[in-house]
Structure formats: C-alpha cells, structure tokens
C-alpha cells in the first residue's frame, strides 16, 4: 500500500470527488432503502433547491442526520459532508464505510489545518457539488432550538458566493422504528457580495432566522412506548450520548 493510500485510510479521503459514479449510486440506493425501511422520512421544499453548487445548512440532533437527508435528496447533485471529527478512518465500522464511499471532508480544529479543509470545500463548489454542513458544529438535544452557529457555513458559502439552503431535520433527536421524521428545506439565501465581517454576521443572522422558522414551535411529545429505541443511538458517539444524558437527565 503506497503512502498516499495509507494516509487516506487514516485521515479520510484527500481528493474530494463529486462525480456521481457507481459507488456513489450504490451507496445512495442502499442508504435510501435502509433509512426508508427503518424510519418514516418525508421531505418538504425539495423543489426550492437551486442548481448546484450550493451549501446545505442543517441542524444536528443525531448521527443518522446525514443519512436521513441523503435518503430524501436526489442522487444528483452529490452531497459532500463537512466536519466529521474522525481521528482514524481505518478503525471502526462507521469510519471505514465513510472512507470507502468518500463524500466527507474531515475537520478537527486540533488535528486538521483549516487551509486543507477550505481547499477541499472550494474543490466541491468548483466541481458543482453540494456541501452539507451542520452549522451548530455539535449535536443539540432540543427540536425547537438551535445552538450557536460555528463560522464555517457562512464563511465558506460567502467566499465562494454560492447560495445557502437552510434545512431543518425535525424528529431525529429520539429515533425509533418507523419514527416520523420531517426534513424541511427553506428558500435559498443569496451570499453574493457578502464579503466583509459585518455583512457576514448579518448573513448568519438571516440563515439562523430562516432555519429557526423551519423548526417546530414547541418540543414534540414523545409516546410512552418507542419500539426499537436503540436504533436512534446506534450512530451517535458516546460523548454526545453522555452530554444528552446530562442535559436531559435521562
């Protein structure tokens, strides 16, 4: 195994491809079948998607979130996800799957240089791809609220002048078999000309307000019995589960 392949196995794919090839198609079909069998997923506002490239700014509640979005999104254009903080892509089932199929830009502020992450993002936009990013940077536990945003989503989109599509995943905080999950896409927000700091801050407020509008007004009531509740925690990391336990007093 050459050095480049070995490094890719450990740190994730360096070359970000947005080509809709056979491997991507297989992953997209397999993911769609599995997610639609396990959960009752519906999308609103898919028709609002502009032509690629654009940035999909999503709220984050669960490790299933990227798969839920991809289960309702069309196979083309291909979505590349920014931000899994993987330390080693050659270990663990989930990491190996991600490394095999690609479509991720790993970023950990302590281990990755911002320059290489930005370069990968630019490649995605230049190739006419869609960048998916969880703007909060971490998992939240309330369906009706957003955590403070990280800078990435707005900065990447504004510097490439690509539109931002806000997307809210409603119902993924607690998942169980056939749980109803709704993915709401909002109107695209233009980022053209938003270069200076003040205008980027205003843009972030607009994106946040648009995303907040797509969220429910109050927390949904959970049923007493949730069949196969373990499904919801399968892809959520132990750190996030511990935070949820502390936050919600489970």
């Amino acid at each position: 195994m050459d050095a480049a392949t070995e490094r890719a196995r450990r740190t994730g794919p360096r070359e970000v491809s947005v080509a809709v090839d056979g491997r991507w198609r297989a992953m997209w079909i397999g993911n769609r079948l599995m997610v639609k069998l396990l959960f009752d997923v519906q999308a609103d506002g898919l028709e609002l998607w502009p032509s690629a490239p654009f940035c999909l700014v999503v709220n984050h509640h669960n490790g299933w979130d990227p798969m839920l979005v991809m289960a309702v999104a069309p196979g083309s254009p291909r979505i590349t996800w920014f931000g899994p903080k993987e330390a080693d892509f050659s270990r663990g089932f989930k990491n190996r799957v991600m490394a095999f199929f690609g479509g991720v830009i790993p970023y950990d502020p302590e281990k990755t240089t911002l320059t290489s992450a930005v370069r990968s993002v630019r490649r995605v936009f230049a190739a006419g791809g869609v960048l998916g990013i969880f703007a909060e940077g971490q998992v939240g536990f309330r369906e009706s609220e957003l955590l403070p945003f990280e800078e990435g989503a707005v900065a990447f989109s504004a510097s490439a002048a690509v539109p931002i599509v806000p997307a809210a995943i409603v119902g993924s905080t607690f998942l169980w078999f056939r749980r109803h999950v709704r993915i709401r896409f909002g109107e695209p927000i233009s980022t053209a000309g938003e270069r200076d700091r003040a205008s980027r801050e205003a843009l972030e407020r607009r994106v946040r307000a648009a995303l907040q509008e797509l969220l429910p007004e109050e927390e949904p009531r959970l049923p007493r019995r949730r069949p196969l509740r373990f499904l919801g925690d399968l892809l959520t990391g132990p750190d996030d589960l511990a935070r949820r336990k502390a936050a919600l007093g489970e």
């Binding site: 078999f177 007493r224 069949p227 509740r229």
Partner: protein, 90 residues
Amino acid sequence: MLPVIWTLFALSAVGGFIMVAAYWLDIQDRRDLSFRRRVAWSAGTFLFPLTIPLYAFSAGAEWPAFLRAAAFLPAFALVLFFAFLFGVFT
C-alpha cells in the same frame, strides 16, 4: 424449486438474526418492565422461535405490523433448516 427454497432460507436466516438482535436490544430498553421481567424476557432469547412472536404480540411491546410479521422469520428459518437437515427438500 430448490434454488427458490435456498434463497428463502438465506433471506429468512439473515432476517432472523437481525430480529433476534432487535428483540434482545428492545428488551434492554424496556424501563417500564421490572428487573425480573427484563431478565426473564432476555433469557427467553434461548427460545427465540417462540418468545419473539410472543413478545411481538404482547401488550407492552407495541411493535408495528411490519415487525410483528418479521417476528416469525427466526421460526421460519429454523423450520427450513430442519427441513433441509432431514431431507425434506431433495
């Protein structure tokens, strides 16, 4: 006919394994059950062809129709296994 039965067996065996795992993990999440009942249902895994359908249709499980139907997969796979073993399909 034999290839069809083999295919059915392979699919139901895989599905059956998944259902055994799903049954066991679902029991562990049943905080509404007493500790003794949870242990009893968990021990019932050894009698999975009977206990999984029994659990699926018991009042507390509230499994949806699809899961209730799939609860018979392990028993179905086992029936096919013994049918092969005793030369029913030749």
